[in-house]
Symmetry: C2
Subunit: 402 residues, 2 copies
């Protein structure tokens, strides 16, 4: 069996943890399996490198940032290869160039385009464990790129797809996918299985178990994913295709506290105004989430939307720079908001799921700011301080603990 | 003018030093020159990375060590590019793969084979300062290699040669080449010029100003080298071709305290015994320096030679492993020895130079262990404790302070 295993930065933070991973991997190898490891940068390395850059300049170019950041994983993979070799297991480390893993050119937020599996396969054929840098790639200019935080999951799935691996295991600090974050909802229950689509909605809604793009890729290439704990041997959650077998109406409750709300007030009500506004943000690689448009004062309109908190400052300054051409009066922002969502393929065939969620919030005296729905999810924006109460109320209402 | 400038690890150790270098380089750039920078890893980075590896395993594979080590320069070059950009100067960093700089396959001790200057030239044509990783290369397997300590000098000269640069400036913590190490010989004098050949002998004899291989390359490709101080603006020493113009008999006195002496006792006196012994060491990439063969007890012979102290342990264990086939009785080692040498093209046309050196040592009551000579140098092996006294005595004898 060919298994791709991905371990995050915490799992390779120091000597002991590196050997813990090496031992786990060694078992699989000795059982006759072929193993490919995908690693992130050690512990705080990424943050340390960012700090190093910010000491030099407040606005480092993205190209040079990626040149700097990519050393993080290279350190991890070489140390892991050394640890495996020390245990008598043949291993070789490869970085993005050596594989090679090609991406789009967008520094800091590149998309994986192709993985050449020839070298990896050749190393596997020599019965070596191949240790690959996650999170990074190279672009058409022969420059290093990074996939953005959490990108190592994507690397792992893409490597699994290109090798037609039997399984791709993502090791995290939680031991699977829960019906809600167990730190917030005490009655949260671990799911044995979840569909790609449900996982996708959960991932994009702030359940930080798996990177979104990695699930998309897994779905596209039918990679059997498994989310497992890096801390213990307990069974994880399998993410796979197909429709829901369990009879649950919804699969989980997720909460995204990093949402920030931006209201652009009193825009001229002319055709194309919404397009212009969102096109401007899109061109700057800012993802907009929930959008609401409402009538403003005196024939104008107000547009309210959410972005990730990390994009708030940039979004506002971009909008302000274009105030004249967009013709709005002012901007109101609020980052003390949380987006709480329910997800489940079950709701596709059941009416009243959204209503049931709203009822739960009403019972808990929580005010809803904005609402957004898709086929398999319902999201509401509420005050951040109510997030915990809201999640528990919804979890209870849908009886997810059973 | 196209100038290649090489700065060592101390010169880029922290933010302030990085900006110091950036400012110096910026002046050249603003004067209309094209500049290529070659950098080593920051300060103690190399040692830190070695420590990281040794924490994992006592004997890391050389391939993985190079994978680990090469991140050091990548950090330096990206930070330097950021610093230059912060000052408004276009800059781009490149590592060994991006150039690319191809080397032989010997991990940890690779030789530069070729530098493709297309990308560097293209970046220069865009009026960018190109910041290149020294010390590293890639081999035919698409793996990273390192050139060994001091390899950044070689990188700089090779880059200068491939670009047909007008000048290659090597910035060090000394401000030029002296007639002897000024820390040891107080009367040492800075030389304005020195020939490649003299510099070669000095470099290989322990004057740690320039890496030997870099001078060889400079000589081969007629690269005009200049050794300058990274700490001040004082004029340095120019290393160039031609024969000596100054009337000095010798150019300098050098001392290598890292020499270690190995005596292989009572070898069978049969043909090929010396060849077998030294071939064995060569195959393990161990450089042997001075060699003396003398008659041993009862028809046997003794062979004594020196190696670098860092190779002592490995040399001895290799010899002991092959004791049976080499047929010797025992090995005696001594690492408390120093090699003191005088160098100068002037001695080619003058007899009695060696004798004058021996006289200086005799007057100072210093015993000579071994002697070795070439056309332009004379080396003697003495007890390490006499090294300082020996250098001063010789420096005085030849009147080098004038």
């Amino acid at each position: 069996m060919l298994i791709v295993k991905k371990f995050g930065g915490t799992s390779v933070a120091d000597k002991d943890r590196i050997f813990n991973v090496a031992k786990r991997v060694a078992e699989d190898y000795r059982d006759g399996n072929d193993v490919v490891l995908v690693l992130s940068a050690q512990g705080d390395t990424t943050d340390d490198l960012i700090a190093k850059a910010h000491e030099i300049t407040k606005r480092p170019s993205k190209r040079e940032m990626d040149m700097l950041m990519t050393v993080g994983e290279q350190v991890s993979v070489s140390l892991m290869a050394m640890a495996l070799q020390d245990m008598g297991i043949p291993a070789v480390s490869l970085n993005a160039w050596q594989v090679p893993m090609k991406t789009s050119s967008a520094y800091g937020a590149a998309r994986l385009k192709s993985i050449d599996s020839d070298r990896i396969q050749a190393e596997i054929d020599h019965r070596r464990i191949v240790v690959i840098t996650g999170f990074q790639g190279i672009n058409k200019y022969d420059d290093y790129t990074t996939l953005g935080r959490g990108g190592s999951d994507t690397t792992a799935v893409a490597v699994a797809a290109s090798l037609k691996a039997d399984k791709c295991e993502i090791y995290t600090d939680v031991d699977g996918v829960y019906t809600a974050d167990p730190r917030i909802v005490k009655k949260a229950r671990k799911l044995k299985e979840i569909t790609y689509d449900e996982m996708l909605e959960l991932a994009s809604l702030g359940a930080q178990v798996l990177n979104n793009r990695s699930v998309e890729l897994a779905k596209k290439y039918k990679v059997k994913l498994e989310v497992r704990s890096s801390l213990n041997e307990s069974e994880g959650t399998i993410v796979k295709g197909g429709t829901k077998v369990e009879k649950l109406l919804i699969t989980g409750v997720a909460c995204d506290r990093n949402a920030a709300r931006i209201s652009v007030m009193e825009l001229q009500d002319v055709p194309g105004v919404a397009f212009n506004l969102f096109n401007l943000l899109a061109k700057n690689n800012i993802n907009v989430d929930v959008i609401i448009q409402s009538a403003g004062r005196e024939g104008t309109k107000d547009i309210t939307f959410t972005v990730d908190e990390s994009n708030l400052e940039e979004s506002v300054s971009i909008l302000e720079e274009h105030q004249e051409e967009l013709r709005f009066k002012n901007i109101i922002v609020n980052s003390d908001v949380a987006k709480v969502s329910i997800v489940g393929t079950g709701m596709m065939s059941h009416a009243g799921v959204a209503a049931k969620m709203f009822e739960a919030l009403y019972d808990a005296h929580i005010n809803i700011n904005m609402i957004s729905t898709s086929e398999i999810k319902v999201s509401v924006l509420i005050d951040e301080k109510h997030a915990e109460k809201a999640m528990n109320a919804i979890h209870d209402k849908f009886g997810l603990e059973d």
